[in-house]
Every structure is written in structure tokens, then in C-alpha cells.
């Protein structure tokens, strides 16, 4: 069942993105930034984690989960270490995503030429 909800929830978040692109005429950069901030706000209201429980990858794969992960990192460090945690914790959870994106992109740039 999680598979079905992963598909549906992931699809719906993408539809939200498409609406930002086509109805609000946002550029992709603005639309993705908006979705990330939405993910952050949803986690601030403790709404994103239940979505992840329910939809699995349907909530963790879209870019909104990035916002969620950043807030999560900040808040868990805040609880553990106090006020400095707001700064130290932000990238904690998202390290896998950003690090692998940097590493693989760099490798790609070494071996591949753009095709136009």
C-alpha cells in the first residue's frame, strides 16, 4: 500500500510544482525554492513527518523533503545543544543529498561534454 501512496503523494506534489510553473508562471528556480520553503513550514507545524510515515518515498523524494530535512536538523540540534543548534544542525540530515550531488556532478563534469 505504501507503494500506491508513494506514487499518489509524490505525483500530487509534482502537480503542485506544475501549477507553480504554469499558472503562477514561475521560473523553475523560483518554483523549487517555493516548494522547499513549503516543506520547511510544514515541518515547523509538525505536518511533514506524518506525511512521510504515510507516503514513504512519495514525501521523501520530492524537493519539499529537503526543506523538511533542514528544519529537522536545526530543531533536533536545538533540542540537544541549545540555541547554537539552530546553526549547527541545519545540514546534518541533508548531507547525503548535497554531498552526493556535488560529488557525482563533479565526476560528470570531468568525463562528459555537454550535448546541447
Amino acid at each position: 500500500m505504501t507503494f500506491l501512496w508513494a506514487f499518489v503523494v509524490g505525483g500530487l506534489i509534482c502537480v503542485a510544482g506544475q501549477i507553480l510553473l504554469d499558472v503562477f508562471k514561475m521560473t523553475p528556480g523560483k518554483a523549487m525554492s517555493t516548494l522547499v520553503v513549503c516543506g520547511a513550514i510544514l515541518d515547523a507545524f509538525k505536518l511533514y513527518e506524518p506525511l512521510i510515515e504515510f507516503a514513504g518515498a512519495g514525501a521523501t523524494v520530492p524537493i519539499t523533503s529537503f526543506g523538511n530535512a533542514l528544519v529537522h536538523g536545526a530543531l533536533s540540534e536545538l533540542e540537544r545543544d541549545g540555541w547554537i543548534g539552530v546553526i549547527t544542525g541545519i545540514f546534518e540530515v541533508t548531507s547525503a543529498g548535497i554531498s552526493s550531488a556535488i560529488v557525482f556532478s563533479f565526476l560528470a563534469a570531468l568525463f562528459v561534454k555537454p550535448k546541447g
Partner: protein, 343 residues
């Protein structure tokens, strides 16, 4: 000689003694494939970067135009050229290769006719015997500079246009008796900047249409002509959206455009039904390759006797767009006639 407000009539009838159109693979798959002089299969032309590829296109077009004119580059008085890149590097680096006196111009996609008009003016006025006018554009260099990295998966809207990969060059020479068969540059009208407040860089056709109509009206008024005096009027790259708007503007301003064939190079260079080019072609090379490849051949066959090529350009930069500015545009028109025609 100046006629009216901003039209030059070239009484000494300078001719296009040689021209060339060089394009990339997508243009080679388009409707005018048979009319280009060189079609490259590799968009990078075997070079290390897109920018070097564009420079190669321009150099090839320049060399071929000189060959066609039968003129060695030492006899070229001036080389007038421009392109879309920052600091018009394709043109400047080609000028380095050509080693002739160089006048760099920037008119965005209107550069082809801007430089042709200036070349004709110089030759007509005795400033040189031969002047080389050229321009180039490349889809990837334009995407890289104005929009996104070429492998980025952004979805382009239906109003977007596809920059032509290519270069067009023409040698303008003093008209002589022996040149009855060569196309004559009869007159040119330079444009003024028109900005109707369009801000969307993905809808340049809408931004440029008013400038095109403004220049065409000025040209007709200055020479006291109507569209019926021409066999064909083409705009440079208004493409699908801008073309429809231009038709509407002609109606509104009561310009009887239906007296002649009116079309747009951006619609001619690609097959919109088969190629993923959204609204159509754009770029400096759009008007250049269609004019120097296709239209001059039609003139040589006697199908067209007098045409008006109106190249259109959008003069924004990514910075001005991001700063919330609208897009100012310009259009330059050149009237080309068959050698046998007289006023």
C-alpha cells in the same frame, strides 16, 4: 542619401557580390536545408566549447562569402559583424582571424541587417570598395548565456523560441555594369528602440513585434511606397507568437500588408510540427541564413525581384530582466532588389 527620417537610398547601387550561409544539424533538418552552403552534423563542430564552435561557423561563412565574391580578404575594406555573446566575442575573434579593419556592432538578432545597412552605406559613399557583413548565433551559447545550462531539464513555455545555430555573411561591393545579375542593396531603414513593456524573456516575439512594425511603417513612409511595391517582406525572428501580433498591428495601423507576401524567418527556418522549437527560430543567424541562403537564391532564380528584410532584435540582458526591466527591441530593414531593376 537620406530620404525622409531614417531611410538611406543607395543611389550608387552597391551589390552583394558573394554570400554564404552555414548552419548546424537542426537547421539542416529544417525546411530550407537545400539552400544552405554548409550543414554541420556536430553541433560543437569538433571544438572544445560551444563558443569556439560559433566562432568557427562565423569564420567559415566569412571565408565562403569571400570565395563566392572572388575577393581575397586583403581587398576587404572593413568587416562589420556582431553576435549575441558578451562582448560580441565570436565577431571579434573572427576579426582576429580575418585581420581586416573591424567594426563590431550589437543589435542582438537584428545584427544581420544592421551590419548589411552599414556596409551598403560605406560602399555607396565611397568609403570602401568591398565590405564584409556577417553575423552568427549558436543555440548552446545563447542558452548558456541567457537562460540555462544546455543539459538542464527546464520546461520551456510555448512562447519560447529556439536560437538558430549558424552564421551568414555577405560581401557588399561597388555596383558596376557587369553586375546586372547580382542582388542590389537599394535602400535601408534603421530602427529606433521600441519598448511596449513586455518583461517575459521567454516571449521575445511579443516584445519585438512593435519594433518591426514601426520600422516597416517608417520605411514605407520615407520612400512613399506601399507593401505592394515588394514581392516579399520578411521579419527576422518574430516566430509564431510575434508574427500573429504583427499581423494584428498592421491591421490596426492600416498597413495593407496583404498586398504582398509577408512571412517571418523564424517560421521558415524550422518545421514547428516536427522539431521541438516551440514558437520558432530566433538568433542573429536566423535572418542571416534565411536571407543569404534561401532568399538570395530565390532572387537569383527570378522568383523575387524586390524584398524587404526586417531583422528584429531584443536588447535585454539576463541582468536587466532579473532587475525587473522590460525588453526594449529594435528592427532594421534592408531592401534588396534584382540587379536588373531600376527605380
Amino acid at each position: 542619401m537620406l530620404i525622409g527620417h531614417r531611410t538611406w537610398a543607395f543611389e550608387n547601387r552597391p551589390v552583394i557580390s558573394g554570400a554564404a550561409a552555414v548552419v548546424g544539424p537542426e537547421e539542416g533538418n529544417g525546411p530550407l536545408a537545400n539552400d544552405y552552403d554548409i550543414i554541420h552534423e556536430d553541433k560543437m563542430l569538433g571544438q572544445d566549447s560551444w563558443e569556439k564552435a560559433e566562432q568557427t561557423l562565423l569564420e567559415e561563412a566569412a571565408k565562403l562569402a569571400l570565395e563566392r565574391a572572388g575577393i581575397p580578404k586583403e581587398r576587404i575594406g572593413f568587416y562589420i559583424s556582431g553576435d549575441l555573446l558578451n562582448q560580441i566575442t565570436s565577431s571579434s575573434y573572427t576579426a582576429r582571424t580575418l585581420s581586416v579593419p573591424y567594426i563590431g556592432v550589437f543589435g542582438a538578432c537584428s545584427t544581420s541587417m544592421e551590419s548589411l545597412a552599414l556596409a551598403a552605406f560605406i560602399v555607396n559613399g565611397g568609403g570602401a570598395e568591398h565590405v564584409l557583413s556577417a553575423t552568427s548565433s549558436h543555440n548552446s551559447t545563447a542558452e548558456r548565456q541567457f537562460r540555462y545550462p544546455t543539459e538542464y531539464g527546464a520546461q520551456k513555455p510555448p512562447t519560447a523560441q529556439y536560437t538558430v545555430t549558424g552564421a551568414g555573411a555577405a560581401v557588399v561591393s561597388k555596383g558596376e555594369q557587369a553586375d546586372r545579375n547580382r542582388p542590389v542593396i537599394a535602400s535601408a531603414t534603421l530602427g529606433r528602440v521600441v519598448d511596449m513593456g513586455i518583461k517575459d524573456p521567454f516571449n521575445m516575439g511579443a516584445a519585438m513585434a512593435p519594433a518591426a512594425v514601426d520600422t516597416i511603417q517608417a520605411h514605407l513612409k520615407d520612400l512613399n511606397r506601399t507593401p505592394g511595391d515588394y514581392d516579399l517582406i520578411v521579419t527576422g525572428d518574430l516566430a509564431g507568437v510575434g508574427y500573429e501580433i504583427a499581423l494584428e498591428l498592421f491591421r490596426k495601423h492600416q498597413v495593407p500588408i496583404e498586398e504582398t507576401q509577408y512571412y517571418d524567418c523564424g517560421l521558415m527556418v524550422y518545421d514547428r510540427n516536427k522539431q521541438p522549437v516551440q514558437a520558432g527560430g530566433s538568433g542573429c543567424a536566423c535572418s542571416a541564413v534565411v536571407t543569404y541562403g534561401h532568399l538570395l537564391k530565390r532572387m537569383a532564380r527570378g522568383e523575387l525581384r524586390r524584398i524587404l528584410v526586417v531583422a528584429t532584435g531584443a536588447l535585454m540582458s539576463p541582468t536587466t530582466v532579473q532587475q525587473g526591466e522590460s525588453i526594449p527591441c529594435i528592427a532594421h530593414a534592408v531592401c534588396i532588389e534584382n540587379g536588373g531593376m531600376s527605380e
